[in-house]
């Protein structure tokens, strides 16, 4: 062994040397990105002004969170502002998907989980005693809302109007051509080409799919007869991975239509459909219109759990209210959170549910919760122990 080691140590030494030298070459590595942030877009900035009003009260160390991809972009922004205000705190949120996030939370690996759908009772039971000590259990705290845009690619048609039954028929393959009578009826003035409709849905499980199918099932129960589902259940159509993948497909393929969070449509300049809800005029997708629809969503959870029922939003007929929305939750323990991270968790959740936190992500395609709900969320967060 000695001899062999003798031979190999040389090789190892060189390898180690190479690694070490490459590290030292870049050893000026830094976590400080404040220079670059100050110089670039003010839309994302404002952190120095924001910093003063964020209460850090006892926050310290590292806070881990995992889950929903739909809220990932918002959380990134919140983390940036929160860390700028509270020095020495690291919040690490990874968009592993709601299911994986909840599983990690249940085994106590992360302090909070993000989820696009409220945790089911069976999953709540699995948090008792494992993630949540001293008789606590996981609770759903609604945090931020986001409209789901219907993006399409149809040259020459910029103001497409669709309604729930038409959408349901398009996505289940019953309407196959863009010049179908049902679409024509909703768009009497548009010149619709005789292209085949290519629908795209998520190939991965996703809360966006769950909310979109829940909308179809609630607003067009006769045309969409399947259960709302995180996995796309209807036959036919094509699929792509992630909202970014869907947006890329819609951008590439003529005659395509798909659904994704509003920010992906804005970023990629994808035209979005207006939805005829029975209101006086079809509603275009926007954060304001979506927040109007969510205004009278009911809390169905028993306090401190704040599970929301969005059926009223899906079937809204109010003027200027956009019906296809999702609300994402944070999941934490009501009692028995890990003591080391509890102050940081409370400070962070307090910040993101504050008016300042809620409005800071509007430019990313999210909308704040209604004021009454925000108050309930505040009470719940302050009661965490």
């Amino acid at each position: 062994m000695k001899l062999q080691r003798n031979g190999r140590t040389k090789a190892l030494a060189i390898g180690a040397l190479a690694v070490v030298s490459s590290l030292t070459l870049a050893a000026c590595g830094s976590d400080n990105n404040s220079n670059s942030s100050a110089s670039s877009s003010p839309a994302a900035g404002g952190s120095s002004a924001a910093a003063s009003s964020i209460a850090c009260s006892g926050a310290s160390g590292q806070l881990l969170g995992a889950g929903s991809t739909a809220q990932a972009n918002a959380v990134t922004q919140w983390v940036k502002d929160f860390q700028a205000a509270c020095s020495g705190v690291t919040v690490n949120y990874q968009a592993t998907g709601s299911g994986a996030g909840i599983t990690s939370f249940q085994s106590g690996k992360v302090a909070f989980a993000g989820s696009d759908a409220a945790m089911k009772p069976a999953d709540v039971a699995k948090t008792e005693g494992t993630a949540c000590k001293s008789g606590g259990k996981g609770i759903n705290i609604p945090m931020i809302g986001g409209p789901i845009a219907i993006g399409y690619n149809l040259p020459g048609v910029s103001n497409l109007v669709l309604d729930a039954p038409t959408l349901a028929q398009i996505f289940t393959g019953k309407i196959a051509k863009w010049d179908d009578a049902a679409i024509k009826k909703l768009n009497p003035t548009a010149t619709l080409p005789s292209l085949p409709i290519q629908t795209f849905h998520r190939s991965d499980g996703s809360g966006t799919t769950a909310n979109f199918t829940a909308y179809l099932a609630a607003a067009a129960p006769t045309d969409y007869t399947l259960q709302p589902n995180k996995l796309w259940a209807a036959k036919g159509g094509q699929a792509a991975n992630g909202s970014a993948g869907l947006a890329a497909q819609v951008k590439q393929v003529q005659g395509s239509i798909s659904y994704f969070e509003l920010s992906y449509a804005t970023q990629q300049n994808i035209t979005t459909a207006q939805i005829a809800t029975g209101a006086s005029a079809p509603v275009a997708v926007s954060t304001d219109a979506a927040s109007k629809a969510i205004a009278d969503a009911k809390v169905t959870g028993t306090a401190p759990d704040l599970t929301l029922d969005l059926t009223s939003a899906y079937t809204t007929k109010a003027d200027g209210a956009y019906p296809i929305d999702l609300v994402t939750y944070e999941i934490a323990c009501d009692k028995g959170n890990a003591p080391a991270t509890l102050p940081t968790l409370k400070a962070f959740l307090n910040y993101i549910s504050s008016t300042q936190g809620q409005t800071s992500v509007a430019s990313l395609g999210y909308f704040p919760l209604p004021a009454s709900l925000q108050a309930q969320v505040k009470t719940t967060i302050n009661g965490l122990s």
Binding site: S98, G99, I102, A122, P196, S203, G205, Q227, V253
Partner: protein, 353 residues
């Protein structure tokens, strides 16, 4: 067999003696308390060294088996709990609905898709890879060959996610023409028939091509090393008999490297079967059995696991692990078959050492 070995031995002949020379002082140094004659000393330490080394190497083999057994046991335990909750027939159901109320899932469609994409990849990659390996080892000028070998290794360095993005953003649009052409002229073969011409070519066929490109460097690199080891005397003997270069390769190089080529292909196949990110980005999956490989349909096991893992909990997750077990079994069967082929061909193989 004797002559070629003789000629290949001399260049490295000094090595053993050098090795033993440098070995002797070191051994003596390692056991200074024993002052006896260096010959018997080195013999004894050698024997002990032998025992230790043999123990270490067989221990590594056993460790590997233990890891495999642990993985298999883990997969089986979780798979059994998932399959017992399955409301469909696990082997014949093609749908994959683990979030719906009666949990229904089966591997019929995804196992088929896995096989189709792997077969397409192998059919394209193996001949091309062997061609490149031969090109580097026997056709290209020496200096160029080394650079080329490096360039092909570079292909192995491209991460699968980049291949996925390249496939989705570059290859797919460029496949539209090829697909239309195949559908037009080879539609009668059934497999090249398109149900809905004009859909995006995000099909198992395109996935196969991307996989082929991904496994190319693995097969090339291993077979290139093997072709370079063909005893030169074998080749010179063939050439001296008047063989053309191709005849020399066919009679001397390929038989020598056959078992290595199959091993290399198995390595490539392993990656093709298990690739996740590139397939997930390129393919438009659906859980139906569809043998028209140009249609955007079908899915693979690894892709299903990757796509659904994030949103799966409990039984849903176990169902994915059951799919992983099936992939495991498929690999087992394919490798078993490859072993049989190698064993049958053994008498031709020069690599019997």
């Amino acid at each position: 067999m004797e002559t070629p070995r003789d000629t290949s031995a001399p260049p490295s002949d000094p090595q053993p003696s050098k090795g033993s020379q440098s070995a002797a002082p070191n051994l003596a140094g390692s056991s200074p308390q024993r002052g006896g004659s260096s010959l018997s000393d080195s013999g004894r330490t050698g024997r002990r060294g032998d025992a230790i080394f043999k123990f270490a190497s067989s221990g590594s083999g056993v460790a590997l088996l233990v890891i495999m057994a642990a993985i298999a046991a883990f997969l089986t335990v979780r798979a059994v709990s998932a399959i017992s909750a399955d409301h469909g027939n696990f082997l014949t159901t093609s749908d994959w609905q683990t979030q719906a109320d009666p949990i229904t899932f089966g591997i019929a469609a995804i196992a088929l898709g896995t096989l189709i994409s792997a077969v397409v990849a192998m059919v394209i990659a193996v001949p091309v890879a062997l061609g490149i390996a031969l090109f580097i080892s026997h056709y290209a000028p020496r200096r160029i060959a080394q650079a080329l070998g490096y360039v092909v290794d570079l292909l192995a360095a491209v991460p699968s996610i980049v291949f996925g993005l390249w496939g989705a953003l570059f290859l797919v649009p460029h496949m539209i023409g090829v697909n239309a052409w195949l559908n037009q002229y080879f539609g009668w073969t059934y497999i090249f028939h398109q149900n809905e011409p004009g859909t995006q070519p995000r099909s198992l066929f395109t996935v196969g091509i991307v996989l082929a490109i991904m496994i190319l460097p693995i097969i090339t690199a291993v077979s290139r090393e093997i072709f370079l080891q063909v005893p030169r005397a074998h080749e010179e003997a063939a050439l001296a008999l008047g063989a053309t270069r191709w005849e020399m390769i066919r009679t001397a190089v390929i038989p020598f490297g056959r078992s290595g080529i199959i091993s290399a292909s198995m390595l490539g196949l392993g990656r093709a079967l298990g690739e996740t990110m590139a397939v997930a980005t390129v393919l438009s999956p659906s859980y139906v059995i569809n043998l028209h490989i140009l249609d955007p349909a079908g899915s693979t096991i690894a892709q299903t696991i990757a796509n659904q893992f994030g949103e799966s909990q409990g039984t849903g997750r176990d169902a994915l692990i059951a799919a992983g077990l099936v992939l495991f079994v498929i690999t087992l069967l394919v490798n078993g078959a490859a072993r049989l082929i190698i064993a049958r061909r053994k008498e031709y193989s020069g690599a019997d050492a």
